[in-house]
Amino acid sequence: MSIKQLHHLLPGESAKILSFHTNLTLQSRLVEMGILPGVEIRLMKKGPFNGPIEIKVRGYEVSLRYNDAMQINVSE
């Protein structure tokens, strides 16, 4: 099991959320949407030039900014 940040995943790769280091507003937004430690996600795509990334979680799709994805630890 290796720990890395969400933005390091490649399109198509799945991982489990471990912890957040994002700002508080974002943190509570994410957890309310069911994106919380222990939940499995799949990276769908990355926008060009470090643009937003899109993940699939709990059967829906959601996008995050690259800088925010850097603050989220995941384990493969």
Partner: protein, 710 residues
Amino acid sequence: MDNKMPLIALMGNPNSGKTAIFNLLTGMHQKVSNYPGITVEQRRGNAQLSENCAVQIMDMPGTYSLTPESLDEKIVAQQTLKWLNGIDRPKAIISVVDAGNLSRNLYLTSQVMEFGIPVIIALNMMDRVKRKNQDIDAEKLQKILGVHSVIPMSAREKWGIDELQSALLNVINKANIEVSSHIQMEIPEEIERIITPISNFLNAKNNHDNYITNIQTLRIITRKSGIELYSESENLNAAEIKSLTILRDKVAHEIDELGLNHRILEATLRFEMLDNALMGNSIINQNEIKNQSRSERIDKILTHKWMGPLIFITLLYGIFQSIFTWATIPMQYIDSGVGYLGNYCVQLFSQGILRDLLVEGIISGVGAILIFLPQILILMFFMTILEDTGYMARVAFMMDKLMNKIGLHGKSVLPLMSGYACAIPGIMATRTIDSWKERLITIMVLPLMSCSARLPVYTLMIGAFIPNKPIFGFLNLQGLTMVFMYFLGTVTAMIIAAIISQFIEEKGKSSFVMEMPPYRMPLAISLFRQVYTRGKLFVINAGKIIMAISIVLWFLASFPKPESNGISFSIQNSYAGKIGHAIEPVIAPLGFDWKIGVGLITSFAAREVMVSTLATLYNVEDEGDDFVGITEALKNEVDPLTGMPRYTPLVALSIMVFYVYAAQCMATFAIVKNETNSWKWPLIMIAYMTGLAYFGSLLVYQGGQMLGLV
């Protein structure tokens, strides 16, 4: 609306199809208004459930939870706290749930279930689930959660709505419905012990049952704003707030010391409960994230690295092309219709001030609003399609990085594009941007996008003074000048956005957590309903201002009336003419004379009024195609001092640059005031735009003269 009707609250996540259900239940009997002082829409409507039973349905803003983060959530949280205290308490709650996305949607539902109000789950979008050959056991779900009923339905395919209505009837007809015991979170003993100081505090205030108190406690611990909300609803005094805050910080610290995160405590416990219940009873399986959806396959093309932007630009081009071509004919009809009505009134009433006010003030004011309606409706039609199909979210995704560099948001793109037609619908469309700072900057630069009211001014000036000659063989100087005006406004908007983003303080961090809705075919009925409501909003909001300004301008242009009847009245002697003369020294360095000055003033109603003002000033008879007459008049005007033509291509260019930048549309400022809730931002907008206009024109005219251009 009748307040004695039983009240039903409609709640749900964004994109759960809540609005479609609201429309199905209420038909056309709805009332849209803003919550007092803010721009979140409040919608209520009546639903006839049976021959002798009607209810009032309150559509709550779409939210993910009851934790107050955004404006929408704050409203929902405030409202539900009132219910707990028995104020405006609804008879039942319909919780709309996207069946394809159960666990996340049920988060809000599970919070809502805790008020002791009967909850009916509208299990929407079952058509999509069924198409994937899956099913959800509604009866089992109802038992597990402990709600009144779970109604599988599809608002798109219009089935299940009768069952929803009979479930509502069932709740309402029972005098004392007992709320079945619902699923509860397991709060570990250790945590319950730690939070006791706060729950004791809350218990002293009012005696809800133990579970509700614990949940309120958790919500206070999660966020400082929880204290704010609670103290508002309970009218705590300053000392009480202070002691509660101290308690909260201490408890939060103790929770973190356990190795937990106090900020996500409620969400963790709640999702644990939901996941266990749903997966434990095999309502859903865990492999949801592995499946590649149809939307994901479509996105491979529509958000492709270079095909995506290309498709977007092509779409935009197509949309604007059709706005300008399709709108021409209805605009001509409106124009001649208003003219006809004016003439009719002239014949109907005897000459006098009242007739002038009616014809030149009121009717032409109404005309100034209606003339843009075709363009705006077509624009709104396309924007609604882009929104309803889910494509808008993809555009935001593609553009966010670029927009973020200049302080804007991916969602700023479409409002800015709408600005090419009219700033007002664009400003209203910024409501979808969650971050206050990014929304405000979008609003502040939006009027720099050249709207269609500037088009007649550009057309007149270019037609009269820019030579129609080819450049590089295939381009044309007139066309190029026109493109340059749009380009100038757009680039300036980007630069200004980058500058003001340095000065505006952030209210809450900006983020881009945006749900990507699956692609869907838009429904004709909801499409037309949205275009209708937005169009109505435009006519009412902008209409009031344009009308008032038109009347003031009519007054300025028609008074004072000459004393003796012998001299025929001309605008030159009016207040407007005097103002034009008075500001001439200020605008002379830009190459403008007093007549243009009058045009600048009358442009405050709407910019295209400049053209008809010049026509009046040059005594051009309005014979349908007034462009030809006025073009000749402008070309023939001679400067009395030099004997040279008064207007040159350089003056025309200076006028156009002025119109690109100038703050002239009063209706826009009124909307900005509405949306930002203060006069501060419209005033700053007027100041910076006027500055840009003046110095931009000054630079063009003086610089051009220095370079020996005429």
